[in-house]
Symmetry: C2
Subunit: 566 residues, 2 copies
């Protein structure tokens, strides 16, 4: 009411009012972590600090509706340092990756590691750990564990129910995950790529409340009309905003939100997080007030984040002062009423990330010899995985293998490299072996412990000895990415947190990724983003041919298949 002095008075703001979609010339009075009041009556209100914004815009802090923080390869604190200065004050993360490595303990570590940040991190409980029965993950999350995690106050839903064939088959276990979320008044989140028509109706009939996989306007519109909360995604690999921007309209009320899903360090540094979507939406012609609303209030409302997503009395004072609304250029960012970033830089100390035992030393390999990677020759053609540039998809090819001394071997002259998936959670030491083409690798090996979704050690190499060297190096690092040739490590990035993340700065990670890319190129690799592609070669839910520690998986059949075509 202005009866006692506030902590901060922001005078002469042009407030993006997400309720009326108007630009409101007003004053904003903060009291500690909350917005106390908004109104022209407060021109002379007392406050510890008074700033005259001289007509600059104020928007609510943005909230990313669906992101896998692990994809940034950095700790939550480092991720915050990357996006908070851009005006992002909250994310809803799906810790699917760390859940696959370290289970509930990994998710709990992530919650601890994001406590007290100037970025609020809400969590949806991964619904599909492991993603398939054809892989060895580091952990399993059953219904009892999902239910337990749902009770946490920062948990706001069950994450993307991605096994849509199981859902359309009405498998009891999957449907129960929806019910568990509803019972705790939290959100059952969806993942329904390409679904329209009866399949979409069937998927949503379970009660699943959202989807972030739409790629066309028609698909997006069908989902919206069917009652789905439509998350418009612009990730690093998958970019759907241009196609779906026509749905970002005031008539669609709070039914559309903005999400990044996966953003790599280079994109975070150069484009940003969900702020990039607001900026791009405005550039695509979306009403700026509605674009801000889709990236703040609509997401807060979908997940029922109390007192978040707007600048209004009683709301948490998470807000961005903008030099320019159209380019969403953050001059200052306030979180919980405190100035946390200015002119693109954090101006508060970030808590140090503690790496607990639950997420460290997670790379546990069996005793490993180059001979363990031998593939005895037999007659006939073999299945070969064809990597595809800029795509998560792969293709299956049938080729005559190159055989030497009774062994199927890599053959750089035919662009055939050996592909290995090494169980690395210390569970059973299984080794999946196969061949891959399209990398262009001429010598040495590339390896990484980011291997969707089980995060076993994925390696591509023309030398078995170099694959073993790479694996050993990754074990010593506690996980990461490495390029090896002739027994020497050429470049590396350590990811000692669950083999997925580091607490190094984003800029350092980006530099090391560039060095890894350069090393791969020096080894002959012609494929862009070879580590990204390698990390997806074990993802046994996306067609066509994949390699897990169980061996080659034909995704269309949903079954392990032999290397040799029968």
């Amino acid at each position: 009411m202005g009866r006692s002095p506030g902590t901060l008075l922001l005078k002469n703001a042009r407030l993006v009012n997400v309720f009326s979609l108007s630009l409101q010339h007003t004053h904003i009075l903060l009291a500690g972590r909350l917005v106390a009041a908004v109104g022209l009556e407060y021109a002379q209100a007392e406050a510890e600090q008074v700033i005259d914004l001289e007509g600059r815009w104020v928007a609510p802090g943005l909230i990313d509706g669906h992101v896998h923080l692990e994809s940034s390869l950095v700790s939550p604190a480092e991720y915050a340092r990357g996006v908070v200065p851009r005006g992002v004050t909250g994310v809803v993360t799906d810790p699917h990756e760390i859940g696959n490595v370290a289970g509930a303990a990994g998710i709990e570590w992530l919650m601890e590691a994001s406590e007290g940040l100037p970025l609020e991190v809400w969590v949806t409980v991964p619904s599909s750990v492991p993603s398939t029965p054809l892989e060895t993950s580091g952990a399993r999350l059953g219904l009892a564990e999902i239910e337990r995690l749902l009770a946490h106050p920062r948990v706001v839903g069950v994450a993307e129910l991605m096994s849509f064939p199981a859902i359309l088959a009405a498998e009891d276990g999957e449907l129960k995950k929806v019910i568990l979320a509803e019972r705790s008044r939290k959100s059952p989140e969806g993942h329904a790529p390409t679904l329209t028509g009866p399949a979409l109706q069937g998927y949503l009939a379970t009660g699943i409340a959202s989807d972030h996989e739409s790629t066309t306007l028609e698909e997006g519109r069908a989902k919206l009309e069917a009652g789905c909360f439509l998350m418009v995604r612009e990730g690093s690999t998958t970019r759907n905003l241009a196609a779906l921007a026509p749905l970002l309209r005031p008539e669609h009320a709070d039914r559309v939100g903005l999400v990044t899903d996966d953003r790599l360090p280079s994109d975070l540094l150069r484009e940003g997080g969900v702020d990039f979507l607001v900026r791009k939406a405005i550039a695509l012609g979306v009403d700026p007030a509605y674009a801000v609303r889709a990236g703040s209030w609509n997401v807060a409302r979908h997940f029922r984040l109390a007192r978040r997503g707007a600048v209004a009395p009683g709301f948490q004072a998470d807000l961005v002062v903008l030099d320019d609304l159209h380019s969403f250029s953050a001059a200052q960012v306030y979180q919980r009423g405190r100035l946390v970033a200015e002119r693109g830089r954090m101006c508060v100390e970030l808590p140090k990330t503690r790496v607990s035992s639950a997420v460290s030393q997670t790379v546990r390999l069996p005793a490993l010899q180059p001979s363990d990677l031998r593939i005895p020759a037999r007659g006939g053609k073999v299945r070969v995985v064809r990597a595809i540039a800029h795509q998560v998809l792969t293709a299956e090819e049938h080729l005559e293998p190159t055989v030497r001394d009774g062994e199927v071997v890599a053959d750089p002259s035919r662009d055939l490299a050996k592909l290995v998936c090494l169980e690395r959670h210390g569970k059973n030491g299984q080794i999946g072996k196969g061949l891959v083409t399209a990398f262009g690798l001429q010598k040495g090996a590339l390896a990484c412990t980011v291997g969707h979704d089980h995060h076993n050690l994925m390696a591509v190499g023309v030398s078995d000895a170099d694959i073993v060297t790479a694996a050993r190096r990754l074990e010593a690092l506690g996980g990461g990415l490495v390029a090896v040739a002739e027994g020497q490590v050429l470049a590396e990035l350590a990811l000692p947190i669950a083999g997925l993340m580091t607490d190094e700065p984003l800029e350092a990670v980006d530099a090391k990724l560039q060095a890894l890319e350069a090393a791969a190129k020096a080894l002959g690799v012609s494929l862009p983003d070879p580590y990204m592609v390698l990390s997806f070669l074990g993802l046994a839910v996306i067609p066509e041919l994949r390699l897990t520690d169980f061996g080659l998986v034909d995704v269309r059949q949903g079954a392990v298949v032999g290397l040799f075509v029968e």
Copy 2:
């Protein structure tokens, strides 16, 4: 998906799509209690029953966002019989009245009595029982009880926090009620009549999420812009829809809902429940799809009622087939997928209401003699309550009393009647005594056990003996309304459930109310709705002068005052 036969196929519907605000020509397939699918693909879908709607409209069942069911004077089952055939399939009720009489046990009875109805009844926990410290209520609801009730799955919030002076004074107990609601992910509901400017900002800064007391466009707009969920009310006494209709616009997304608050039997029978608001909003020029949305989805969304408020896959099949959208004329009503009403009549059996001991025989009076109502005379003027037609407000007047045999007495020639408030919960037998003008009563007495908010026995009379007769009759009936003259009961309505409700049909109640009104008129009463006015004369939160069992209350001072002006 249409893979197995549904229970009902509604072909050729014009669906009011509350997500896209479009009228969608489509087919709707039900599977048991849920909507299985919506789409043109289902023209030939198999179902146990197929109905061709030939282009008739289908809307989601309406949900009333705030109502006191007790105001209907009938049981929840009878209320359902009144509104379900009109297209209402849900209400959010605030059992403030029965809570004041019978506490948590009364609220629990109401939940039991609304179990299994074709009308879903969600509950907000009354936040102000008792309403003031200047009255004896039948029960108190403390923080521990509010917290316990919040855990019930059908409880969706804490009801209207009406002690706004206490809230603006930041009283700890009131603020805790907001926090309790937030913690359980339920809604802290508001009640902020006339608040705008800094008082409104202060009220909402607590986290209170809604208001249903706006009477002007300016007030409504200010609340909407400040982040408040704006409930537009059209009750029996307070009618705000015409003033606020301009705010019912698609740009305001899901921020506006429709509520009835209080509707008397006659209005329920002649106008209806929240369906009346949809009809009237459309007549006032509101986009019909948006009017339906405000009366269904927006309310469901505000209270996070999972799978309610829309006709879409996975939603509960609560829907209305309309002969005409503009007049919202319900031809058929389906609830949980079952045809429950057709052409204005229920077509299913309603469960019989069981009256538990918690809510029966709640009228417990002290031994009472006419002499107990004597008011000894003193010198000087007395405070007199002036009743005001069609208003809840009263005025205070200072008059010379008529004195006979040393007693202040009623004086019909001066339109001065005796006003009595008799503690009737068996707590202390306190009797508040005073004088009232403007009724026009010439003989006898009127009395009722509906007496907001404490629901003590309120009586107005020119004969002390007739007041006692009326009170004794109400005790025998277990509560109700009565008109008495010369020791004879002229008309009565028994309200044996907590002294507030009956399980008789709405039509019978309406007829008895008319007989009571006629009896009052025969006794000289010139004031319209005398029982309604009488029932509010003890409401010690609305200016100016009231009478509780503590005595006269000056509401502006918030204190008990003497009958004689000092």
